[in-house]
């Protein structure tokens, strides 16, 4: 992975971006209010596959965007 396509700036070198981590998404089977908050703050799916995640274009337009990346190959997918 050498470039990331920013929705505002187009394809740019990966060094310009900061990784914002996976988008927190507590699973539906966690129902308690405290348990959902705990999961959202601390727990990660950490999937070996396609992950929805946040990226910040730090050295460019200074905006966040959401992307899908296959973590087993470290490649972005549509």
């Amino acid at each position: 992975m050498l470039t990331i396509t920013c929705p505002n700036c187009g394809p740019r070198p990966v060094e310009e971006f900061r990784f914002g981590g996976e988008l927190p998404e507590p699973p539906a089977n966690i129902t308690g209010e405290f348990e959902r908050d705990l999961d959202r703050v601390w727990m990660f799916t950490n999937v070996d596959g396609v992950q929805v995640e946040r990226w910040f274009h730090e050295a460019g337009c200074h905006r966040w965007h959401t992307a899908r990346r296959d973590t087993s190959l470290d490649r972005f997918v549509d």
Partner: protein, 182 residues
């Protein structure tokens, strides 16, 4: 007991367990041989890199884990560039050495950078993970304590602060002794 470095989230998911752990790649490289003389491991918490000399005289050099979580074992040229620059600042003589080979592994990084040891809340499943930062120093003691935990079915006092339940109890901590974090 789950002690699977790198794939701990995948294994835990089989038991319906979610963990405060992300998997990050960690890269390292060795140089060609050099006269024996560097006894200790030299590491810098400012530059976030380390070097030690192997028994064959090669300099084993690495730096912090990659920022993007990933299961990929792809090695990169960017790593060689940034890591060798840092190491040339730390120990200038390594500029004259040649890079022999590089490799990449997976690290379990916990949400507070400290290891997680003990019971999980799932009956019969205990865990030891999150050693992906400076585990080589703490794991011998961690292994002994986990053996005691399994033999006696209670948490030894030494590893009680590292329980998985610390996140729910709002006692997350970056333990400097085991992680080297600041």
């Amino acid at each position: 007991m789950s002690a699977v470095g790198g794939d701990v989230s995948t294994i835990a998911a089989h038991a319906g367990l979610r963990l405060p752990v992300r998997t990050h790649p960690l890269q390292a490289f060795v140089t060609n041989g050099y006269a024996q003389g560097l006894g200790p491991i030299v590491s810098s918490t400012d530059l976030l890199c380390y070097v030690s000399q192997t028994a064959r005289g090669q300099m084993l050099i690495g730096h912090e884990f990659e920022r993007e979580s990933s299961y990929s074992r792809q090695s990169s040229f960017q790593f060689l560039q940034s890591c060798s620059l840092k190491m040339a600042l730390l120990l200038p003589f390594v500029r004259n050495l040649k890079i022999l080979r590089q490799w990449t592994g997976r690290c379990d990084i916990s949400a507070d950078f400290s290891p997680i040891m003990g019971f999980t809340g799932v009956d019969g499943l205990v865990i030891t993970t999150g050693w992906g930062t400076w585990g080589f120093k703490g794991i011998p003691a961690g292994g002994e304590q986990m053996a005691e935990l399994i033999a006696t079915n209670r948490t030894p006092d030494l590893i009680a602060p590292f329980a998985l339940s610390r996140f729910a109890a709002d006692h997350a901590m970056a333990d400097q002794g085991s992680t080297g974090t600041r």
